[in-house]
Amino acid sequence: MAKINPIDPDYFKDERAAPGFKVIGTTVPRSDALGHVTGRTEFFEDRTFPNLAHLKIHRSPHHHALIDSVDTSHAEQTPGVLRVLTYKDVPANWYGVLRLIGIGPDDEPVLAEDRVIYKGEPIVAVVADSEAAALEGASRVRVSYTELPAVLDVEEAMSPDAPIIKRAGTNYFVYEGHHSRRIRFGDVEAGFARADHVFDWRYSSAPIEHAPTETTGCIVVPQSNGRLLIHSNTQAAFFTLDNTALIINRAPTDLQVKGGTVGGGFGGKVDVMVEPLACIAATLTNRPVKFVYTREEEMQVSSPRAAERIYIKDGVLSDGRIVARKIMLYVDAGAYARHSPYGATKAAAHLPGPYTIPNVHADCHCVYTNRTPSSAMRGFGVTIADFAIESQMDRIARALDLDPLEFRLRNAYRDGDLKAHRKVASGTALIEVIQRAAELVGHELPEEYRAMSSTTPRGAQA
């Protein structure tokens, strides 16, 4: 049995006596609501600075192409344009946000160098006196391309004859030498051989855009002490600070991030997309610089939730016990890693769902395609896996004419079960949750299922 540390009731005893600590059952106003209803909440863009300059981007119109030449001369001559930035102005152009936790390689350029691998990839940044001049300048950048075949499907990207789109040499993230994050538990083939029924189905999801009402952006203000003050709507202030410092090759102590007020994030404002370029522009022009996505950019180029494709093959006995589950899962990371390698690992950690299955085999791939890079969004990796697993459970129940709740109860994990990750389950409560939910909706369960308990070992019951 896993050792569970019981909660020490003495730990909070002093807090409990404190006056403000009795909140359950009372209404506590949100600390930020008064600012919201009076219009006084200060979002990053609500600050104005004299001499504010604006940054806009020239982006790739192609999914996949070589860049033959970039001509910025017309952009530079545009009235109001202060400065035009290419990759040569970015001190450490190649980055990967997860390098802060040791995940590599750095696979993404801040500004494209010799190629673009998704439609909307930034190539040139234009800094100007006004937003209109920056947009005008960005539209006057001339880039010539040689278009290359694009890979837009995850399984196509994994096939041996697919064009390789990544400089690391594979169209997938490499997990400790493997093509996927894997689970190997028991022997699935033996499980399928023993099963009375085998069900093999496919699930897929489209990308989902967070569509925050406030678009991604920041204003960077050079300080008289030489530091850069970054007003940002990032959801991850320190993460942004460290990644920005690495990209612009400055000490983290040179930067200060003021954030915390986010006009909708949902995971979409953790990618460090605007701060590095705004910092570079502010340094080069010695002016405050604003870089904020237009609504179009937010919808088109900000990272969505990854599209996923999931195959689940289950071997089931006539009595409803699942004896084998094999999962092939593909996360479409789009062109660059961002947070997706972590998302695919989370998917693997979540498999095979809250069920005890003796034989499990899973390959969770983080695949690169020429699509918009995907990244974090509420429960990414887990949400779509759950959709697939629970759809599979319902479909099997229907196919075998079993009650879907009873089918789940029969396979539900319990305390003490060994999970496919070789961890002993503890604190499980799926059985009780289903029992209670059934009761609430008036779904009658037979006595045998009502008697089940998460804390009674499986063998001790029918």
């Binding site: 106003p29 609501a33 009076t38 219009g39 863009e45 967070h210 925050p212 006009g263 909708g264 609504r295």
Partner: protein, 163 residues
Amino acid sequence: MTVTIVNLKVNGVDQAFMARPGTTLLLALREQLGLTGAKRGCAQGACGSCTVLLDGAPVVSCLVPATTVDGADIATVEGLADGQQLSDVQQAFLDGFATQCGFCTPGMLMSAEALLARNPDPTADEVNEAISGNVCRCTGYAPIVSAILDAAERRRNRVEATH
């Protein structure tokens, strides 16, 4: 570039600003008059976070050329409260947890104020209609609709009490 001087009333106060061609009412309010309550969510008339009242009617200020509002009467979120005293709609949003990130809130409040000014006893359908141009990505709308209905009731009760 021709610059036009625009005179108008904002939240009951006489104001003036210089408008370049292409300046929108939203940018004039935010950048020239320092009233940053109205937000820019899309700059294309799609999200409603820039909603203000123009002579009492809700407009998406990101689509209103600043030069066209000479002589107009504008109301923004900053003018709703009377000192510390919140308007019924503001108080109902506060009490009913109708805000999350708060970015849509100023626009929602102005659409709601305009509705209640012309219809003191709206149905839920009429509330939905009135805020149909205001996008909220956080709340799922239900608490906002309830708050507006609640505000209508508070107002009616007060009007009755004073009669």
